[in-house]
Symmetry: none
């Protein structure tokens, strides 16, 4: 048995409905509304169902005892990496891994922020205009890191390089020029991830 998954299929199906409801409404419905949503006929059944989900960290309680999403509420199935060989295995089979996007991208929440990307200077590194980068704020970085730097009081995203004894900011797009900053330049943070919506 997949020991990651002690909650039964029925509950997983219902959890999926809760997730959809939450994605739209950004709240967990009340017990009586869940009755309709999940097609159950007694609030007591909901009570037990909710208790099961709480036990497995899919749901949790706010300070005022309202029902809120738990740690695992935002888990998503990750398809197997063995995809490119013949018989593919779409996710949802047994032993499928579940991951949360936020946990993958954010390691140190307190020093992490999201910055929208303007311009194409990192196009060849797969960072396009309109993307969002996840930045860990800190003043130091290694050569080769993609960094957010402040040059002339402006943000800019570039790869950190070195030339002789001097740091330079290298774009990933031939149409842009390498920046050889004067004194007034500093590192705002290091890009640790990026994402994009279509």
């Amino acid at each position: 048995m997949a020991d990651t998954d002690q909650v039964y299929k029925k509950d997983i199906l219902r959890l999926a409905q809760l997730r959809d409801y939450f994605a739209v409404n950004r709240t967990i419905p009340s017990y009586s509304y869940m009755c309709e949503l999940l097609d159950m006929k007694s609030k007591n059944a909901i009570t037990k169902f909710v208790a099961r989900l709480k036990l497995h960290d899919f749901l949790d309680a706010a300070p005022d005892n309202k029902l809120i999403p738990g740690k695992r509420f935002f888990e998503r199935p990750l398809a197997n990496a063995s995809v490119q060989a013949g018989a593919f295995t779409p996710a949802m089979g047994e032993g499928t891994e579940y991951v949360t996007i936020d946990e993958q991208l954010v390691r140190k929440p307190s020093v992490t922020e999201l910055i929208p990307v303007v311009g194409d200077s990192m196009k060849d590194a797969g960072i396009l205009d309109g993307d969002t980068v996840i930045v860990e704020k800190r003043a130091s970085a290694n050569v080769g890191d993609i960094v957010v730097a402040i040059v002339d009081d402006r943000f800019t995203i570039k790869t950190l390089g070195k030339e002789k004894d001097r740091f330079i900011l290298v774009p990933a797009n031939k149409a842009f020029e390498t920046i050889r900053p004067g004194k007034e330049a500093s590192i705002y943070g290091v890009v640790v991830g990026s994402f994009r919506r279509y």
Copy 2:
């Protein structure tokens, strides 16, 4: 008077507290809890406060009448035009500080899964080897969508195109060739987002 902003400063301050609470708990607190949180002494004051916020689309009601964030709930508190001039502030996108990345990328959790990308065939679209794409599973897509298709029992990510009366799968990399599928091809899902870790 700034006609964008009919709600008074006090309310904006309180709204900020609600946003902070929401960022942590992912729910709007009950009226009595709001009394503590906002340091008010009667639930009636909350009623009126909430009515004001609803009027201006900061709050809304779910199908079961629960209080949920409205359209403007995730707005940036203060739009600072002074960003690109001197004293900048780290410009984030719309309310990114109050919404998780997951919530930005996933619209229909029950049909969404994550698929790791293998290969460079979509390089020019900013999807690199090792990236993860967020896929909404469905059998139909529009021309121009980036889709996950199944060709010869293999996953492949391409842009959906049309040639005469026939669908084709167009890579975003000159080194790869457009696929003109025979009978055995179907759409597994549509790519609605992607992310990458460094």
